[in-house]
Amino acid sequence: MKHKLLLIIVSLFFFSLLSATQTNIQLLNQATEAYKSNDFDKALSIYSELEKKIQKNPDIYYNIGNCYFKLNRIGLAILYYKKALVLDSSHALAKKNLNFALKFTLDKQDFENQNFISSFFSRSFFSLSLNALAWVCLILFIALIAIIHVFLRQSESYTHTKKMFLISLVVLNIIFVGWSASRFYIYKNNKEAVISSPKVDAYSGPGESFTKLFTVHEGLILKVIKVDNAWTQISLFNGFTGWIRTSTYKAVAI
């Protein structure tokens, strides 16, 4: 009797889960149809609904970015591509579209003007997504544990190759743990933000009474230094710092 009840509860749970995915698929199909027929507003609203339902999905962020781009909201498009890349830094489509969208901003954002070594370093640093790194770390760690177990079992036969294997595994573990840790730190402390208002003036202090330093436009990627209620201190890729209104930008961090 007890078993039967449990069975019913479990099957009900799965059924509800299934029906939930079913409605999600329907929504997704509607959104795809709307996007195909150039009804980007409708597609955007469906994707936003899906975003609330299914939290944290890089593909949803990417699709929202596409809708914003088609609706000529370059700033928000860039923001959502960025969000997708925060979750999955190896999202090739998002990367491509972000680079494309960046050409439409009024402010020239010359990220490629770095020297070769630093650009190569940053590219390889973000080449693996956070989850891919997590998997690599897990596999390497388990491999290390496994080899330690082997050593414990056959304590008499420490061969040279086994020792080298152990050492290399330890080194690899250190490298990947360090890499993942720094990436996780960046993920947790993402200070990036995108200007969402068409035109924003930056001042030397929190208030319009301060000297106006420079003007930025929608789609500019910046770094938040300090938030002070309605005003935020920001820094640009070229080293400029200033204060802008907090309402004029959107943070990338999820």
């Binding site: 698929i25 299914i54 596409n66 088609k70 989850n131 897990l138 177990h149």
Partner: protein, 601 residues
């Protein structure tokens, strides 16, 4: 033995004989030098003969002429061998004659010094020869009679006049258009029996395109009349020329070397060969510029008179086939320098070529030329193709106008599946015609996106694997202890063994198997005690109990145990005398005892 000695002697004699004979012959060699005329004209040539005769056995080199004031025009040689047998003796006489053709350079009397000839190891000297060079050679002129038995009417006089041998170049035109082809014929007119030996060095034809089209025709001597006189003519050479400059151009002079054969009047002497050299005079040619071609006409550059014909190899194509369009342009003119007609673009039709082949002197006819153009067609798709006509425009210098010829049009049918893979390609770079963002993702994952570093199972797995190491370590320590210490192993195992026996007792109790019950209870307790106390199995009950007394202070417990054990030994074998009440009590007694023992040990 004696025979061999005789043979040896004989062969020695024979050998000596041969040496003597050779010496005899060697001394027989005769060397002499002579000329055909002792008095020669300044413009004449004469021949110097150097004759070596005798039984020559060793080799010799061609004699070197000393420094003489005559021009050496060439050397020829003849040799003969005569063998005669006289009175059974064979003599072989070899005769070698070197004939030098010499031409005087100055007038006066000269002497040719003795010429040294090396034959084998010996040197021989010829006699000297005197030559008188006069303004006109006299020797032959003085000969009054001509031979009447001649079959040809060649002049036989020893003196060669300039009018007797004339070498001329005759152009087919002297006033012509640029690029118009004309021909130059080189003919020698002679009254002597003449054999051309070679042409002089090729002069440079500046401003002309030139091709020798004389071919391998036989050099024939023909009887002709030229300038009102009877001559023998030899047509030596034909050049096709086309001026590539306008203005006055010059055809340079050409030298010819020839031998004049003058038959000898003397019955005993052979015919006389005289080497001569003759030159053509340069010819001036006037070249006019072509008139401008009419507008919209693609001038091929051809000047002359041409015909055109075209032929398509097949009009229906199957898979993998190609059709060949053959265009033949023939006529008189500079076909080799003309541009090939341009083939217009036909969509989906790949045109390869043209492959060209130009020939001159078609069917041995002079002034003709033919060019064959072959275009290969590779249809890229099925269907009908119109192969348009091709224009060929040339200038006709006789009519003084441009003439356009057209090939005929063709229709080509290509059947299905006719895709030809060719190494020839007209691929183009892909050009971007627009740019946009990538399309949305339609098959996305609904599971949401989880950061693994925030997942509990992830850290659980890591924690588990970390814990597994000390666990493995302690397990290993335990294993080592067990394998090293059998007693430790027994004490560890004791409880398990006891449990096994107690299981048997409870089974026996439930099924009322009395002696089974007591037997396993007794065995179980004793084994447990021996394992726990580390004493050998099979020790007697008393020795076990005495050991136990040392370990446990509780006397009552031990007495209880002793009485139970005694009871066991008593009932173990007798089956009937135990009632159910007793066994019930004993079961609980056993439980108490075991509890007490396990607590205290």
């Amino acid at each position: 033995m004696a025979n061999i000695v005789l043979n040896k002697k004989l062969s020695l004699c024979f050998f000596l004989l041969i040496i003597c004979m050779a010496n005899l012959f060697a001394s027989d060699i005769d060397v002499s030098a002579y000329v055909d005329e002792n008095t020669v004209g300044i413009n004449d040539t004469f021949k110097l003969y150097i004759e070596i005769s005798g039984s020559i056995t060793s080799s010799f080199e061609q004699p070197l002429l000393p420094n003489i004031p005559f021009q050496n025009l060439g050397m020829s040689q003849s040799s003969s061998t005569s063998i005669s047998v006289i009175n059974g003796k064979m003599t072989s006489v070899k005769k070698q004659i070197y004939i030098y053709t010499l031409k005087p350079q100055n007038m006066g009397t000269f002497s040719i010094p003795a010429i040294t000839i090396k034959i084998g190891k010996d040197t021989y000297k010829t006699n000297g020869v005197n030559i008188t060079v006069a303004e006109q050679g006299t020797t032959k002129q003085n000969q009054p009679t001509q031979r009447t038995t001649q079959t040809t009417n060649f002049k036989t006089s020893g003196q060669i006049n300039n009018e007797d041998i004339v070498f001329i170049a005759i152009p087919s035109k002297t006033s012509l258009y640029k690029n118009e082809t004309f021909y130059v014929d080189y003919t020698i007119y002679t009254r002597y029996n003449l054999q051309p030996t070679r042409l002089g060095d090729e002069p440079s034809f500046n401003g002309f395109w030139k091709e020798d089209i004389s071919g391998n025709a036989n050099i024939e001597m023909k009887e002709t009349t030229w300038n009102g006189q009877k001559y023998y003519s030899i047509h030596l050479r034909r050049l096709a020329l086309a001026p590539n400059k306008t203005g006055t151009l010059t055809i340079p002079s050409q030298t010819l070397y020839a031998d004049v054969i003058i038959p000898s009047n003397n019955f005993f002497s052979f015919a006389d060969r005289r080497s001569i050299s003759v030159q053509t005079s340069p010819i001036k040619i006037t070249v006019n510029e072509l008139p401008a071609p009419p507008k919209g006409v693609e001038f091929s550059g051809a000047v002359g008179d041409f015909k055109i014909s075209s032929n398509l190899s097949q009009t229906q194509l199957k898979a993998g086939e190609s059709a060949t369009l053959t265009i033949t342009v023939s006529g008189n003119g500079n076909l080799r320098q003309t541009n090939n007609p341009v083939f217009p673009d036909v969509s989906n039709l790949r045109v390869l070529g043209p492959e060209t082949d130009t020939q001159h002197n078609i069917n041995n006819e002079a002034n003709t030329a033919k060019r064959v153009l072959k275009y290969a067609f590779l249809p890229q798709d099925e269907g009908f193709y119109n192969i348009p006509s091709i224009d060929f425009t040339y200038f006709n210098p006789i009519k003084k106008q441009y003439i356009t010829l057209q090939t005929s049009e063709f229709k080509l049918q290509a059947e299905r599946g006719n895709i030809v893979v060719s190494t020839y390609s007209n691929q183009k770079m892909i050009n971007a015609e627009g740019s946009d963002i990538g399309f949305i993702v339609t098959n996305l994952r609904f599971s949401g996106f989880k950061i693994l570093f925030k997942e509990t199972w992830y850290w659980g797995l890591i924690l588990f694997s970390i814990i597994s190491i000390p666990a493995h370590y302690f397990y290993k320590l335990e294993q080592d202890k067990l394998s090293n210490n059998l007693e430790y192993f027994r004490t560890r195992k004791a409880k398990r063994v006891l449990k096994k026996y107690l299981k048997n007792t409870s089974f026996a109790y439930k099924h009322q198997q009395n002696n089974q019950f007591y037997d396993s209870a007794y065995k179980g307790i004793l084994q447990y005690l021996t394992d726990k106390l580390s004493i050998p199995r099979g020790s007697t009950q008393t020795s076990i109990l005495s050991d136990l007394r040392e370990k446990i202070s509780d006397k009552e417990q031990i007495e209880k145990l002793e009485s139970f054990l005694n009871k066991c030994t008593e009932y173990k074998y007798s089956s009937s005398s135990v009632d159910n009440v007793d066994i019930h009590n004993d079961y609980f007694d056993l439980k108490n005892i075991v509890d007490g023992l396990t607590k205290q040990l």
